[in-house]
């Protein structure tokens, strides 16, 4: 659609959904300015509160983590009353990640969040690994994801970005990116965690540095095949070099997720190092 809203896009560094707590836990590690001006995707918010899944929710794998956290969140009502106002006061540019069981739920979430003060944009979670999303709307096919984006777009102001967070599945990612962009997504986030299993066979998603080569392949193929679609890369970013690799591949921004669990200062360091107003070559 190319509405010329790229100025509203986040970047070059953003906090990935589900890896920034409620924001309060990240603030002590963000330097003197705290969250001010920081692009942050919240954990996924659903209409009703969710307790999340049983433990263990996260286990280590070589080069990453396998997780099945189960989208614990206080529900939209509580989020609007407590977490969002705090994030807005702290000065964060808040991209609310939303997840729903039906298209109607996604539309409700988008409509109510469009009226909430301080929401910079939405990130639509249409890329949860299969079976992990526990009751989320089925988004196995690209046209399912696109239908969700269209439903969200109808309810959310055109001058604010809607990001579609996709699965980093190289065989479908181009089709998904194109369909979601056509449906009104301002940019696509590539991507969510990769479907994986816990040692006991339970379904989960793999995140962390192990994902970087997979994500880079997906980012590259989308940039080449559908160059009109802005791409935000998310997968294994942990230092300046890994972030620059994605930016060099054509991503407009990178999200930092799992790295924050290892070093909560990662996003603050990357913001300084990648600040376009500086021309720093040093590595963090």
């Amino acid at each position: 659609m190319g509405r010329g809203v790229s100025a509203a896009l986040p970047g070059p560094v953003m906090v990935a959904a589900g890896c920034g707590g409620t924001g309060r836990e990240l603030e002590p590690f963000c330097g003197p300015d705290g969250l001010a001006g920081l692009d942050l995707a919240t954990r996924s918010i659903t209409l009703d509160a969710r307790a999340g899944g049983p433990g263990p929710r996260v286990v280590e794998a070589p080069g990453g983590l396998v997780n099945a956290v189960g989208l614990p969140n206080p529900g939209l009502e509580h989020f609007l009353a407590t977490e969002l106002p705090w994030l807005v006061r702290a000065g964060a540019r808040v991209f609310v990640s939303i997840a729903g069981a039906t298209m109607g739920e996604y539309a409700d979430l988008a409509r109510r969040l469009s009226r909430a003060p301080g929401v910079a944009g939405l990130e639509v979670n249409v890329g949860a690994p299969d079976e992990v999303g526990g009751g989320l709307f089925e988004v196995r096919e690209p046209f399912h994801a696109a239908s969700v984006i269209a439903a969200v777009r109808r309810e959310f102001p055109a001058d604010r970005p809607v990001l579609a967070k996709l699965r980093p599945d190289v065989s479908r990612v181009v089709e998904s990116a194109r369909a979601c962009h056509d449906a009104g997504a301002t940019a696509v986030v590539i991507g969510n965690s990769v479907p994986a299993a816990f040692p006991d066979g339970r379904a989960g998603g793999l995140s962390g540095p192990a994902l970087a080569p997979i994500t880079l392949r997906c980012v590259g193929v989308v940039r080449r095949s559908v160059p009109a679609v802005p791409v935000i890369a998310c997968g294994g970013v942990h230092d300046v070099a890994s972030a620059r690799t994605y930016l060099a591949a054509g991503a407009v921004a990178v999200q930092v997720g799992t790295a924050l669990l290892h070093d909560p200062t990662t996003v603050a360091r990357l913001r300084v190092a990648l600040d376009p107003s500086h021309d720093l070559q040093e590595d963090a």
Partner: protein, 269 residues
């Protein structure tokens, strides 16, 4: 000047390392962490080649030493991460985040307190005993372990505690038996108003139950795997009943590790 608050992420250094029985005691510098410490806090430490952190109880802080302020942690080398940590020599540098988590709540008045700990996880009770004694509380300390090699030394705590009881499951030192076997009796004999517990889930549950039966408050420091330790990942679920009576699942690292014993839904842990 207000006291510094909130955790910091710093590079620390191993300044002493000592094997004591089955455990390894590390003394670390971590600029800003000892200054902010309160009993019940922990630190998250990075381990080479691992994404997740290792959470370690703070056993002791020294406001000053030849190395400046330091903190002591106790660890049991169980997996590749803790083995790596246990093998770090003096001078090794490690990334440390802390102090993390909610500390023990201290009574406003000089009341009678029973402190019950098992294994290395008993560590946070030692600085707690000092704080309680400063407040004029009568402190009774129980240290328990499967065997003598896993018993934290209570020698230094004898200065803070009115009485010290040692329990081992195999009877190798002190009384034979587990916390669950003795805790009701210990609560009664110490006439405890507050029971503080730190250790494995069974120990905490036994202590919380004994406190409730005796009409005492309890505070328990839960021991669970925390992937990040900072509250960012929601990976350490702890089932509790909220103040409003509603069942919730909170983060052991951020809303804990110290919680009221009567708030934990032990059957769901």
């Amino acid at each position: 000047m207000p006291e510094p608050t909130g955790p910091v992420h710093v590079e620390g250094e191993v300044v002493a390392t000592k094997r004591v029985g089955a455990y390894r005691h590390l003394t670390l510098t971590a600029p800003g962490v000892p200054e902010r410490f309160r009993a019940g806090n922990f630190v998250a430490v990075s381990v080479a080649g691992h994404v997740a952190r290792r959470a370690l109880w703070i056993h002791r802080v020294r406001a000053s030493s030849a190395f400046g302020p330091t903190l002591d942690v106790v660890l049991e080398a169980r997996g590749s991460g803790t083995q790596w940590l246990a093998a770090q020599p003096v001078g090794a540098r490690v990334a440390i985040t802390g102090p993390l988590g909610r500390p023990f709540a201290l009574p406003k008045e000089a009341v009678s307190c029973l402190l019950v700990g098992e294994g290395y996880a008993a560590a946070p009770l030692f600085p707690l005993a000092e704080r309680l004694r400063e407040r004029g509380c009568a402190v009774s300390l129980v240290v328990s372990a499967p065997d003598e090699s896993r018993l934290l030394s209570a020698l230094e705590a004898r200065r803070s505690a009115r009485s010290v009881t040692v329990l081992t499951a195999d009877g190798s030192v002190g009384q034979r038996g587990s916390v669950a076997d003795h805790v009701d009796d210990l609560v009664r004999r110490s006439d405890a108003d507050v029971v503080y517990a730190a250790g494995p889930t069974d120990t905490l549950r036994a202590a919380a139950g004994a406190a409730e039966r005796a009409g005492a408050w309890s505070q328990v420091a839960v021991e669970t795997a925390v992937p990040c330790g900072t509250g960012l990942c929601h990976g350490c679920p702890l089932p509790v009943v909220g103040e409003d009576g509603v069942d919730r699942v909170v983060r052991a690292c951020a809303e804990g590790p110290v919680v009221r014993g009567d708030r934990v839904r032990w059957d769901a842990v």
